[in-house]
């Protein structure tokens, strides 16, 4: 190590200066949050996101926080009246707007917003103390964005919970209550095809897999995916086309390496066994047309009749 190494104490002092500056900037003092309390909040956030981070990392983390939103949220969690007034002024109407945007239906939206509002206020008690959901906000993103995400999580959770509880009448109406058990599990797919697909998918980069999953599984639009990845939708369009072709090529190559001919590989990839099953079922359940008149037998046996 060189002799020009910066003393650790000096670096820590620099961090303290930064924290003091952030405290002043956050307006935490106006919510009766002391500098010590504010520092403790920052340390809690640092422990969560940079448990073994250097002073430099901490400096970077602290500088990136939405410090005003953080002070407001934590003051609300502490039950500060003025903070709540500000919070409600800023976000009460937005909560219902966001809920409407997420739930797409007024009663469900109201229910969602009311539920979240209760969580934010802190209806749950822990050791006799009210616990507000706002206490978990860490300022990594905007408070409005956080509220959106929390509501979206709650909505998806609720939706998934409700999907497990379906009405028997509804199932009966859908004609699936007494449906025969699926036989897909009993159908075995060529292990060479399985391994070739697994190998090709494992070779995908995370962002590529995200794009494929979003488009083909979640049915997201190009614009939505592009917005998430901060690129233009034409980029996503090109990427999808390229990925689908490349994936197909890799799987076909994998199949040929596993002993299939090119034609066999293409057939194996394009033919889904479940499609076959559906076709078989379709053919089996197809009613045989009743011929109005029985065909005459060919007396000559040469097909001339």
């Amino acid at each position: 190590m060189s002799d020009a190494v910066q003393p650790v104490v000096e670096i820590s002092q620099g961090l303290n200066t930064l924290v003091a500056g952030l405290y002043a900037k956050s307006g935490a003092a106006s919510f009766d949050l002391s500098c010590e309390q504010f520092t403790a909040i920052l340390e809690e956030i640092a422990t969560k996101y940079q448990p073994s981070g250097s002073v430099f990392d901490l400096r970077e983390l602290y500088s990136s926080l939405r410090i005003e939103d953080l002070a407001l949220a934590r003051a609300c969690a502490n039950g500060h009246e003025r903070a709540w007034e500000i919070f409600l002024t800023r976000f009460r109407a937005k909560l219902y707007d966001i809920a409407g945007y997420i739930a797409k239906e007024s009663s469900a939206a109201r229910e969602l917003a009311d539920g979240i509002y209760g969580d934010l206020y802190g209806t749950a008690n822990r050791d006799g103390q009210r616990v507000s959901k706002l206490a978990s906000y860490t300022g990594r993103g905007s408070l409005e964005g956080w509220l959106r995400t929390v509501m979206a999580q709650e909505f998806v959770n609720k939706y998934r919970r409700q999907r497990r509880l379906v009405s028997l009448d509804g199932e009966e109406e859908d004609g699936i209550q007494f449906a025969a058990k699926g036989t897909e599990s009993s159908i075995e797919i060529d292990p060479r095809l399985e391994s070739a697909i697994a190998e090709a998918l494992a070779g995908l980069e995370d962002a590529d897999r995200f794009v494929l999953s979003s488009y083909y599984l979640d049915r997201r639009t190009l614009a939505e995916i592009a917005r998430t990845l901060c690129v233009h939708e034409s980029t996503i369009s090109r990427k999808l086309d390229k990925l689908a072709k490349s994936l197909r090529k890799h799987i076909l190559n994998g199949l040929t390496q596993r002993g299939m001919s090119r034609r066999q590989a293409e057939e194996a990839l394009d033919t889904d066994v479940r499609d076959l099953q559906v076709n078989i079922r379709k053919h089996l359940t197809q009613k045989t047309e009743v011929q109005p008149f029985p065909k005459k037998k060919d007396p000559m046996g040469d097909g001339s009749a």
């Binding site: 190590m1 060189s2 002799d3 020009a4 190494v5 910066q6 620099g14 430099f56 400096r59 970077e60 500088s63 937005k94 945007y101 997420i102 978990s136 906000y137 860490t138 990594r140 993103g141 905007s142 409005e144 964005g145 956080w146 959106r148 995400t149 929390v150 509501m151 979206a152 999580q153 909505f155 998806v156 998934r160 797919i189 095809l193 697909i197 697994a198 998918l201 995370d206 995200f210 494929l212 999953s213 083909y216 599984l217 979640d218 997201r220 939505e224 998430t228 901060c230 690129v231 233009h232 980029t235 999808l240 086309d241 689908a244 072709k245 994936l247 197909r248 799987i251 990839l269 889904d272």
Partner: protein, 396 residues
């Protein structure tokens, strides 16, 4: 679009992991506020977790707000900022508007002078007339010299801006410098070219004045070249009592003023100068930086198109740090460049610790603020606390 075989789609749907990133991280991801490492982790998770993908999709703000939130603006951005996604649309109309204003200004300037001065209170008419005579004198002088640019100056010398109510306004470069009460209360306009003028009383609406005040009150950068500005950004300086003094300081001599005016007129005429007042924050919000093939690339349209930034043709860059307008880029053999103004100017930085010169490849650059940062090489870390003026070396 190429379709995926059904079997591949089925295998793509991996079982969802049990651990999910918290709402804060997902929000920060949506708002593009994560570092590259954390962002990569979230993308890795989203690639296999349909639950979080769904949450992320539902938590996206509505179309119009998306970009504004992504660049870290307030929950309720001003009207002009809320229109950020339609930047191309606005700029096209802005360019059209600028042309219309130039034509209107030319027509206006040919009208009898008493109509122009009548916009001022009676007590200011005399001083305005005096300044107008000065302008006319300069114009006549320029005409005598046969300067083509002086003609452009005349074209771009509107006394009133007809753009009231629009989201941006044309800044009259040859505006009347009037030390009267009304002028003192209006904001002096400082342009990228270093020119500074006091806007005359004009029919510009209250909204425009508010927007002008809301713009960055930073001091002008006199060394900035006019051509370096993107679509010509005009900034407002400190408004208030300084205005008359500032105006006087900015008129050291007639020839200098004339040069500035003709230059500004040329900029307005070509549409590339500091004629259109746009929010620099908005422009910067569309800037993206990346490294590719050892070159620094820049996008001025939020990543749609990319261009190579020609800092040093022979250098291979491997590390980049972007913090607001502070850019650092480093690479092979310890080459390091710094730009304090969002890439307009670059300074070659040679990190030295004592007598030791950095010659190793820079593989990572991390800056927490304008002054404090570190660069990482395969065998050492170098830190600075004064914007790269001095460095301390730490053995890894």
């Amino acid at each position: 679009m190429e379709d995926l075989p059904k079997l591949v789609r089925d295998r793509l749907a991996a079982p969802a992991p049990s651990d999910h990133p918290d709402a804060d991280l997902l929000t920060a991801f949506s708002e593009n506020a994560l570092g590259p490492g954390e962002r990569a982790e979230i993308v890795r998770h989203l690639a296999v977790c349909s639950f979080c993908r769904e949450v992320n999709s539902l938590a996206q703000p509505e179309e119009e707000k998306a970009l504004a939130v992504a660049v870290g603006m307030s929950a309720a951005p001003p009207l002009a900022l809320a229109r950020a996604p339609r930047r191309g649309f606005n700029l096209r109309w802005g360019a059209l508007g600028a042309v219309a204003v130039i034509v209107a200004a030319a027509t206006w300037s040919l009208r009898p002078s008493h109509k122009e001065v009548s916009a001022l209170p009676p007590q200011e008419v005399s001083s305005a007339k005096g300044d107008r005579r000065l302008d006319e004198l300069q114009l006549a002088q320029a005409k005598e010299e046969g300067s083509q640019l002086s003609h452009q100056k005349q074209m771009a010398a509107p006394k009133q801006s007809p753009t009231a109510g629009s989201s941006f306004k044309i800044v009259p470069k040859t505006a009347v410098v009037n030390p009267s009460r009304e002028v003192a209360s209006s904001s002096p306009v400082v342009t990228e070219s270093g020119d500074r003028a006091v806007a005359p009383p004009s029919p510009v609406g209250e909204f425009d004045r508010t927007m002008a005040k809301a713009q960055t009150p930073a001091a002008p950068a006199p060394d900035r070249q006019p051509g370096a500005a993107i679509m010509g950004i005009a900034k407002t300086a400190q408004a208030g009592n300084e205005a008359p003094d500032v105006a006087r300081q900015e008129r050291p001599s007639q020839s200098e003023a004339k040069d500035k005016k003709t230059l500004a007129a040329a900029e307005v005429a070509t549409g590339t100068g500091a004629g259109v007042a746009l929010d620099s924050t908005l422009i910067n919000s569309f800037m993206r930086w990346t490294l590719s093939d050892g070159k620094l690339r820049r996008s001025t349209d939020a990543g749609v198109n990319w261009e190579i930034v020609p800092i040093d043709q022979n250098s291979v860059f491997r590390a980049l740090s972007v913090l607001g307008e502070e850019l650092w880029v480093g690479g092979k053999n310890g080459v390091l460049y710094h730009s304090p103004d969002n890439g307009k100017h670059w300074v070659h930085v040679v990190p030295t610790a004592g007598e030791e010169l950095l010659t190793e490849d820079i593989v990572r650059l991390e800056f927490a603020d304008a002054d404090h940062g570190k660069l990482i090489t395969p065998h050492s870390e170098w830190t600075t606390e004064n914007c790269g003026a001095t460095w301390h070396r730490l053995q890894r």
